[in-house]
Symmetry: C2
Subunit: 811 residues, 2 copies
Amino acid sequence: MIRQDVFAVEPWSLRETSLDLDLLAQSESVFALSNGHLGWRGSLDEGDPRGLPGSYLNGFHEVHPLPYAEAAYGQPEVGQTLVNVTNGKIVRLFVDDEPFDVRYGELRSHERILDFRTGLLTRTAEWVSPAGAAVRVRSGRLVSFTQRAIGAICYEVEPVSGPAHIAIQSVLIANEPMPEPDGDPRRAAVLDQPLVMEHQAKDDRSVVLVHRTRASRLCVAAAMDHIVDGPPGTLTDARLYEDGGMVTVAASLAPGQRLRLVKFVALSWSSQRLMPAMRDQVWAALSAARQTTWDGLLAEQRAFLGDFWDRADVQVEGDAEVQQAVRFGLFHVLQAGARGENRPIPAKGLTGTGYDGHTFWDAETFVLPLLTMTAPEAAASALRWRHATLPLAIERAGQLGLSGAAFPWRTITGRECSGYWPAGTAAFHINADVADAVIRYVDATGDEEFDRGPGFDLLVHTARLWRSLGHHDPAGRFHIDGVTGPDEYSALADDNLYTNLMAKQNLVAAADAAGRYPDRARELGVGVEEAASWRDAAEAMHIPFDEALGVHSQDERFTKHQVWDFAATRPDQYPLLLHAPYFDLYRKQVIKQADLVLAMYLRGRAFSAEQKARNFEYYEALTVRDSSLSACAQAVIAAEVGHLNLAYDYLGEAALMDLRDLENDTRDGLHIASLAGAWIALVGGFGGMRIHHGNVSFAPRLPAGLTRLTFTVLLRGRRLRVEVTHDAARYVLAAGEPIEIMHHGDLVRVAEGAPQERPIPPVPQRPPPSQPPGRAPAPRRTAAGQPVTGLPGAAPVLGAPAGTGPGIAGQ
Amino acid sequence: MIRQDVFAVEPWSLRETSLDLDLLAQSESVFALSNGHLGWRGSLDEGDPRGLPGSYLNGFHEVHPLPYAEAAYGQPEVGQTLVNVTNGKIVRLFVDDEPFDVRYGELRSHERILDFRTGLLTRTAEWVSPAGAAVRVRSGRLVSFTQRAIGAICYEVEPVSGPAHIAIQSVLIANEPMPEPDGDPRRAAVLDQPLVMEHQAKDDRSVVLVHRTRASRLCVAAAMDHIVDGPPGTLTDARLYEDGGMVTVAASLAPGQRLRLVKFVALSWSSQRLMPAMRDQVWAALSAARQTTWDGLLAEQRAFLGDFWDRADVQVEGDAEVQQAVRFGLFHVLQAGARGENRPIPAKGLTGTGYDGHTFWDAETFVLPLLTMTAPEAAASALRWRHATLPLAIERAGQLGLSGAAFPWRTITGRECSGYWPAGTAAFHINADVADAVIRYVDATGDEEFDRGPGFDLLVHTARLWRSLGHHDPAGRFHIDGVTGPDEYSALADDNLYTNLMAKQNLVAAADAAGRYPDRARELGVGVEEAASWRDAAEAMHIPFDEALGVHSQDERFTKHQVWDFAATRPDQYPLLLHAPYFDLYRKQVIKQADLVLAMYLRGRAFSAEQKARNFEYYEALTVRDSSLSACAQAVIAAEVGHLNLAYDYLGEAALMDLRDLENDTRDGLHIASLAGAWIALVGGFGGMRIHHGNVSFAPRLPAGLTRLTFTVLLRGRRLRVEVTHDAARYVLAAGEPIEIMHHGDLVRVAEGAPQERPIPPVPQRPPPSQPPGRAPAPRRTAAGQPVTGLPGAAPVLGAPAGTGPGIAGQ
């Protein structure tokens, strides 16, 4: 957990004003910078002390054997893990020969600010060395959105108490020592010194290093160059050593004098290109960055982000904490996906090595909805990556005895890396999730080139999978047996409702696409009979419903199982997976994360309003939220069925997942899906937005704690802004052709310059549902520190005044 | 596979007359000697060439980490594996300085005979060295049933072509080099040089070695002593080297002269006792053996086996091959269990390291039925071992959140070693199998001391497990969800019928026992309410039945699943587990091994005759028998419902499992359960024997291929012989009080000296069931080589004439 007062509540930035070494690893995650290609954890400039060092290139990984106590057919044998690449972030400082280390001497002041509008991480510190020399240090750091190979640092130091000999040492180092690993020793072994040097060179102020991984044979090149600004007599030299190099700048400074170093770092990797090409590539990137200058990079960064916020910002009035958290989330989701360029979006983005740097269904189901509506080119890029892995997915399906494509549960390259098949291979829903993301993307953007190209391929191969995975019973119903749905506390179930509904959509969408693009259908050998068999299977899809209870069943047997003994479960026994065996979790009614509830969001038309309310109440009492993927879906459906304050609590949980370290693992990286989930909770929950066949509908309603919600979505080239208060919703078309939308079931036509306002109908009154004992979400609090009471108009939390921009960014 | 002509068909022995080096490892398994404490694979005396060296002490193991790609609560972390202990079998021969090695020179003749009545493995060979010196070698080897620490070898050599310098080298060696292992490297690592020397000593003709395992810290002591008989001038000396020692005997022999070495070997192990105690213990055992002499050991062995055959022999007339195989099986089952003395009976006995030397439910369900009726003290010993592991099983149940005891799926010490929980931890039926073995043992022996002691503890703690594992539904039915039954191609099913029926028996038996022994019940805290809750759960136990199909369902969902596509499965894709992922096997109707069919044998009263016939037909079409535990159960029910020739085919498969190497893994050790299963197929199938609450019933009927079946069973101190022909059955009470039995439903009273004969009623006629394509059992053949046609009176296979005893055994 991170206490509420660690970060100041500000609308456009994240600021810490003191340094807590116990939270160092967490702060490295929340202050991480990335553009989706290159990721730098928010380590202190000097590299020490550190939580978890981390410089990452999307897709750059090492492989290791996946161990099993007992062998079985079809088990993935090779694991993949994200590698900490050559570190170019380190800038060390020596004051009269004493190293600047916050653990020694006196840290008189400390501040770090991550600015969501400039993309700059700044730090200011005043430090007194053990010998009594005081200096002021200011640094700014960015990972460029516009020059994807580039990270840059501006580092300034000035003596404040008297003259001092100052040396700044800029480092580029590979194979830096890592904290002691735990877990499988063979996996840990490949991550110890993973890089083998192929080349190194220097001149008087620059260094280049080229390395290659031992087993996966990937090549990474890193280079750094510098601009030095110091008093006359400032000395610069460069040295190389094993696996690294450094540039040292030394000057004697009087108070009022500054030594300033701008450091440009370029990083690239390739599985194909050879050392000379890689070496030259990073030099080219570095030259471009130098030519741009630090101020130029800053300006580009501001412009890129300004454009993003124009189309993506969400304003949340009444809860400054959530306002900050939502922008923090949007910023990090953008960082995770902006410049991936046909690489995956990992569960942690490029902010840490949690989950080995793998990508899961998180990307398609939680992250892409946000990107599709705000940065569609990033969504397309992630889907193109999936498409690029289609040959591996087709191979995997064949290995499993299935047709079509079986996408991996977790992977870096597209090859299945899950070492526990009941929650890996059996979680076939990921294939329908990919299809769902394709359908949503095409629906929202109208991108026909994608639709008839990669989109078509993805829909057809996933539809084939479902047709071969399911079967008809003697009565003609179609069943999908023995699969695992989103809820990881259930597994290998017959007719998981989520899976069946998502597969149904997938089958129909593929058949429709085959009708839309007959030439492409011919190319993939999709005949009339095959498409008809998809429609038939979809039409006959079995949807489990428990007549006795009057609710849908998560799977054919779920509601028949014993209910978990929540009363006998102590608070310290959550998450349950650390305290109970899978066999017991699987055979009882206990839910890790929204499953049927997520289906009610993604496939809402399959349920009546009454069913949604009853289902939500039933499953709410069984859901323990031991996964960060749960709260946002619960928020959406809670809002839809009228439990607005509960939805608000879930919004808070999703949004604050990392700023409060709610799952105690933010040190390993951010929960990108949960951060995106905060947007889903706001837009899908309180905005009530749904898209279906190009039609967009809203059913906005605010909880008591919020006074106004404003968000913007991109819809087929249009920019639609939605402003919601307790009384009314206003639809503003900021750009584009007029559009027809639904507002609480009523058709509304919105044109540019002609905003439409509609009243919010009263919320249906229902008794509040209950959660398992102790598992209710933390209530959002009023300014007086009281939980939200449910009364509209409760006093909102007031945010602290926004800080001014840092000095370095203002240069 | 082993060709039919490799072993001569003889009623009381297994003989090979040529040496096929490709079958060396298989022959080491079938010629293995053991007394249940010490096991020696049937390696050639000279130790080279070899398939898999093997000397084992029951329970002596090393531990290693169990690896997992993904961690989970409750996973067993430590594996156990049987260790190849100090090898005392090796006797090397040098002829004029050339080593006797069958790969060099000329092997003029070779014969090995395992005699089931003497327990002696003899070998005769005539060999010409590369230099042209010819010798005759005769050796005899035994592992003593009466002196459990002792193995002994009598080795004789004589020159046949001219005088020769002969040296015999008797070796005792630890950490002998093993063939290259495959699989997990960490597991393999612990088996490379597993023993650390603690002590070694010698005098002029004896050697002692004491070693300890590195991780499990078990101490093993081995010693050898010799009696030499040679011409005047014969020289004897002893030497020690690292991890070993040897005694060399050298003599110059003229044709007609012999050099004879009798070697006594003693082996013991302990987890508690220290080196000096262990060293002295093997010396003591060795002294006793020397005092007994080779001939004395032989005589004891004969007497021990004579007694066994008197009460256990099964005579099968009409099929000499099955006759031999059944005695081979009885002999090896006796070897596996005779002197275990509160140690487990591993799946492979002590004949190899298959399954890491672990014990499974095989022991209780397949091996103990035979031992209970023929060697009840061995059955009691195996059950006492289970009882001794009760504290570990109680601990494991607690770890799993359950009451009572959860016995391990696979283990050496009683600690769970299964690294794949869906087919390990989830296979809770092993607990009911243990209870079933207790009930059967007490039923057959009337051993009240066991009943109120260990039996009571086992019944109560397993009943508690079932009560906590299951739950009632709103209608009051009792369900056991999410468990794995015997069929390993299904897993994590709700209400596995086998498990539910076996648990039901377990619950009732425990409640009955609590009534029988109120003092013991008080001691274990079993109150009236708890016992009543067991009876209630048993009474309310849900038994899945598919009304539409008119058959019982293997579990609640089984008959709803898609049927495996047998038509598309090629013959080379069996066993399916090597060619299909578990996820697909689990969710389809395909059965690895008898599950519901086994339930119809063990809990036959839960089914009507008509249900048995219908169920058998239904499940027969789905059962691929990829497990050696299947054929015998199918044989029993096939016989019961009237498919006698099919039962006969299954008998053949069970009996010949290892003599024909039907599963291509006899090299790793024998399938002790399948060998015991041949007895089950004969006695339970063609004898139709069942016991229930002390009442024994028979329903004998022979298949066309057999003319007579005679078997003897022990029943509460009585010895009852049953002789079956096609027309009649004769019941002979060889010893004991008069007994009432049932013969095909009619009460028969049998007294000593008053045999009763009853006619066999006609067999019900039913159309033959079908198996999955290509998975019908191999038909038993007539003497003319034709498959059995189903006509009674078909010409039987005639066995080859019995061989005479070997020379060495005759001394």
